[in-house]
Symmetry: C2
Subunit: 223 residues, 2 copies
């Protein structure tokens, strides 16, 4: 069957705001663009959709090609499509945000990216195109989700103390938390188990180490 | 400046799940498609993006053309882009959800829509394409937002009692509410004022009528 059908088509990309916690700061990975337009400017990793891949597959592929990162937790954020947002032609971008624990993964700029660096979200450089707007929305969305979900576990290494987990929730949630309430909530969900090990900084009493019971089953849970 | 740039382009549409409360049910407006593919099937109103309009403008235009509705509250929901979701070619759709109070607005099928009818969300017909998935997500998103925001005021006529407002929150939020807590919350926000009038069904004590102080300032407020 054929259809009468002659609509103009926009180009479509995906862009990814990927977050991690390094030391004591929430950070986002930015690349410098290797080609025009915006050559040499900082931007979110991303690129054009292939017609035979899903939007999420496109986001994962672009992230891998431009930064080397794989196996990340990914959620669709919003589709940005203002007329004139790109100088080439009408381009819509389906933005994603992603979370990763950096254990064992190195960032490696590749493909269209000349450089890739983690930036603290409180000390961002100027960004190409409308990527500052996309990133601002991603930071807000992440902060909102930290208030009621287990999504923060995606930022943790295999073993962690409850103090560290709460600190990550504070950094990504942009909010000071009450220690007693946080522990009661996270332990009450039944997602964590003690590893049997302890961690000490030498100055304080050793703290119990925890891990997620079944990482494939970590889902969003409302408080 | 010109760029080497030869990526295939998908088609892009917007689709709109528009909700209202009629009598004692949350309802969504569906159209029957006037052309192939899916001719004669129930579907969400929507259509192809023009390259010189924003995504939201496209959603508003398609809603007006196919149903006659204007001036609605609109939020982007999610972009659906599975390979093969449409038999014509690769088509992404940026889905929106919308809320309206029906005061003074009549639904009128037009453009590509052969018919337009309100359906209770608990008694939906089979839908074309992946529109059942889109609608299910819209119903969930609306229910979630009713739990912490003033978005429900968008479903109200100019004057209403607090009992009616709470009932609309219960229907759209899909949750039984506590009368005392609901009144404390909504009045505590300072968004409502008494009109001076009262409403009575004849059987109960007359209830105070309220209106939104400044409709342009009604925004999402977290509890």
């Amino acid at each position: 069957m054929s259809y009468t059908y002659e609509y103009p088509h926009p180009a479509v990309t995906t862009d990814i705001a990927i977050f991690t916690v390094i030391d004591d700061a929430l950070k986002v990975l930015l690349i410098t663009r290797g080609a025009e337009p915006f050559k040499g400017e900082w931007a979110l990793p991303g690129g054009f959709l292939d017609l035979d891949e899903s939007l999420e597959d496109c986001a994962r592929r672009e992230l891998q090609e431009e930064t080397g990162l794989e196996g990340v937790y990914l959620e669709q954020l919003y589709t940005f499509g203002a007329v004139g947002r790109d100088p080439r032609e009408r381009i819509l971008t389906v933005a994603y945000y992603a979370l990763i624990s950096l254990d064992g993964q190195r960032v490696q700029a590749g493909d269209d990216a000349a450089d890739a660096q983690w930036f603290a979200v409180d000390a961002l450089p100027a960004l190409a195109c409308d990527h500052a707007d996309i990133l601002a929305m991603a930071i807000d969305r992440l902060a909102a989700k930290m208030a009621y979900s287990t999504v923060g576990l995606q930022l943790m290494p295999d073993e962690f103390t409850l103090s560290r987990l709460m600190r990550v929730y504070e950094l990504a949630g942009r909010k000071v938390l009450d220690k007693r309430n946080f522990r009661k909530w996270i332990l009450g969900l039944g997602l964590l188990e003690e590893t049997g090990g302890k961690w000490s900084d030498g100055a304080h009493r050793p703290a119990l180490l925890y891990r997620v019971k079944d990482k494939s089953r970590v889902e969003i849970v409302r408080k």
